[in-house]
Amino acid sequence: MYSEILLEHFRNPRNMGRMEKPDGVGKVGNPACGDVMHIYIKVGKNSSGEEIIEDIKFETFGCAAAIGTSSMVTELAKGKTLEEAEKISKEDVAEAVGGLPPIKMHCSLLATKGLRKAIEDYRRKKGDAGEGGEDSGDSQEG
């Protein structure tokens, strides 16, 4: 049912855990089956001054595909510019884990949504910096 790559990420997830003082948080819930994923990012700059994902972490309450794709999306996003990271699609993630059963594509979608939401959250906080936008990114809808 699952590829070796996915199972390997499930068993040895990369970038797993909570992040202290993240720059952005994406909390998403899976409307399909009820799972929950949190993605935390720290934003830095690369040598050309573009904003990049310097560090990223995830926490997931869900199936092996959800855990495996969360792990994979953090790997794919790390070091990328925010624009590049935003473009990561559920297909990109599914391909990177060596394919997913059709019924598990929504788990991959959840991972990419979590990432986008974290970036959105970062931008919003930056936009209204100093105005106490600390609690954004909390909504649970997918």
């Binding site: 909570r18 089956c33 009820g34 926490e59 997931t60 309450f61 869900g62 199936c63 092996a64």
Partner: protein, 390 residues
């Protein structure tokens, strides 16, 4: 080491059953319907098995119809009874925790002009007389309640419920597929008109089931053809599987009592240790009135498919009612019926022991479980005392 703890899913074939089946797979291939001696021998084998099956459930042999599975037996009971007795009423009442074979067979009858009412259960999964009364009306022709639940193991008070159904003029169908061979069954004492059983849940082969149809109960066949099984189920008999089913029933009759005692003790001790060695876990189902080999847990903050896969890597075969493992992405209807939230149902784990389960297997499960739960809890955003988990 491999610990197979999923007996409620299917049981291994007992060697003694296999031995009984082999001649009927090899040399005795004749069709029981023919009139020459080879056929008559096959016929006798089928009839011998019928007697053994009948004896285990307290029926007479003429009241047993062999089917291809428990699912077919459930379908024959519900559809066959409804179609043959449509003048008696148009409502079928089922419990909320029935097996899919029963629920879906009922749903299929909706297109035939029948309506279905669901009787709820209490937090242990018991259909109470009050809940059944509420769902019943004068138009009810059939009530279906299982003897025991395949997920949480809860055993129902069938006799009491059948009495209520009869008071309302309805017949009673009892799905006993998961219970047969684990606890004693007597159709006379239960006072039911229809009862379904299955071979592969009791160390017999897959591909054999049976329906008890009480004398005088009218049932319309679903399969038409050569008129086998007194016309209730056409199709050449699966002789080896039926012989195996008979042998399995014979062994169960001899060993059930002692086996149930052993399983109950092993299960109780396992439950006690899981509850004491892992935090934030609940036992689903009834504290006492449950099948001897059944345990069903809900581990907070984690999801069952991950749990089952992790345990599989550690050499343990178990199952879950999590939405993530279901083709519809819905959590188990049994777990939601007893009041578990989606999140709680997510963390469910069914562990079922059986005839060949050893203490070593249970020990192996107990030794790997806390670590596996702990690892998945580290990945989860939900923590003990934290927010968001409902």
């Amino acid at each position: 080491m491999r610990a197979y703890l999923d007996y409620a899913s299917t049981t291994p074939l007992d060697e003694r059953v296999l031995e009984a089946m082999l001649p009927w797979l090899r040399e005795h291939y004749a069709n029981p319907t023919g009139i020459y001696s080879l056929c008559q021998k096959a016929k006798q084998a089928v009839e011998g098995a019928r007697e053994k099956v009948a004896e285990l459930v307290g029926a007479s042999a003429q009241e047993i119809v062999f089917t291809s599975s428990g699912t077919e037996a459930c379908n024959l009971a519900i559809k066959g009874y409804a179609l043959a007795n449509r003048r008696r009423g148009r409502r079928i009442v089922v419990s909320a925790v029935e097996h899919m074979a029963v629920l879906e067979a009922c749903r299929a009858m909706e297109s035939q002009g029948f309506s279905v009412s669901v009787a709820g259960v209490d937090e242990h999964g018991c259909v109470t007389p009050e809940k059944l009364e509420q769902a019943l009306d004068r138009d009810t022709l059939l009530v279906a309640v299982q003897l025991a639940n395949n997920e949480i193991g809860t055993v129902q008070e069938i006799k009491e419920l059948a009495e209520i159904a009869h008071e309302h003029g309805a017949a009673f169908f009892c799905d006993a597929c998961i219970a047969n061979g684990s606890i004693p069954i007597d159709v006379e004492k239960l006072d039911v008109e229809l009862l379904a059983i299955s071979a592969h849940k009791m160390y017999g082969p897959k591909g054999a089931g049976a329906l008890y149809i009480a004398k005088g109960t009218r049932v319309e066949p679903l399969l038409h053809g050569g008129g086998q099984e007194h016309g209730y189920r056409s199709g050449t008999e699966n002789v080896p599987a039926i012989v195996g089913f008979g042998r399995a029933c014979e062994i169960a009759a001899e060993e059930m009592e002692e086996e149930a005692e052993r399983l109950r003790r092993m299960r109780d001790e396992m439950v006690r240790r899981v509850m004491s060695e892992v935090e934030d876990v609940r036992l689903n189902g009834h504290p006492e009135r449950r099948l001897p080999g059944n345990a069903n847990f809900a581990f907070a903050y984690i999801e069952g498919e991950s749990l089952v896969l992790e345990l599989d890597f550690a050499g343990v075969s178990v199952s879950t009612g999590s939405a993530c493992t279901s083709p519809t992405l819905e959590p188990s209807h049994v777990l939601t019926a007893i009041g578990l939230s989606r999140a709680q149902a997510h963390g469910s784990l069914r562990v079922t022991l059986g005839r060949f389960t050893t203490q070593e297997e249970v020990e192996h499960f107990l030794s790997v479980l806390p670590g596996v739960v702990e690892r998945l809890r580290r990945i989860s955003p939900f923590k003990r005392g934290g927010e968001g988990y409902v």
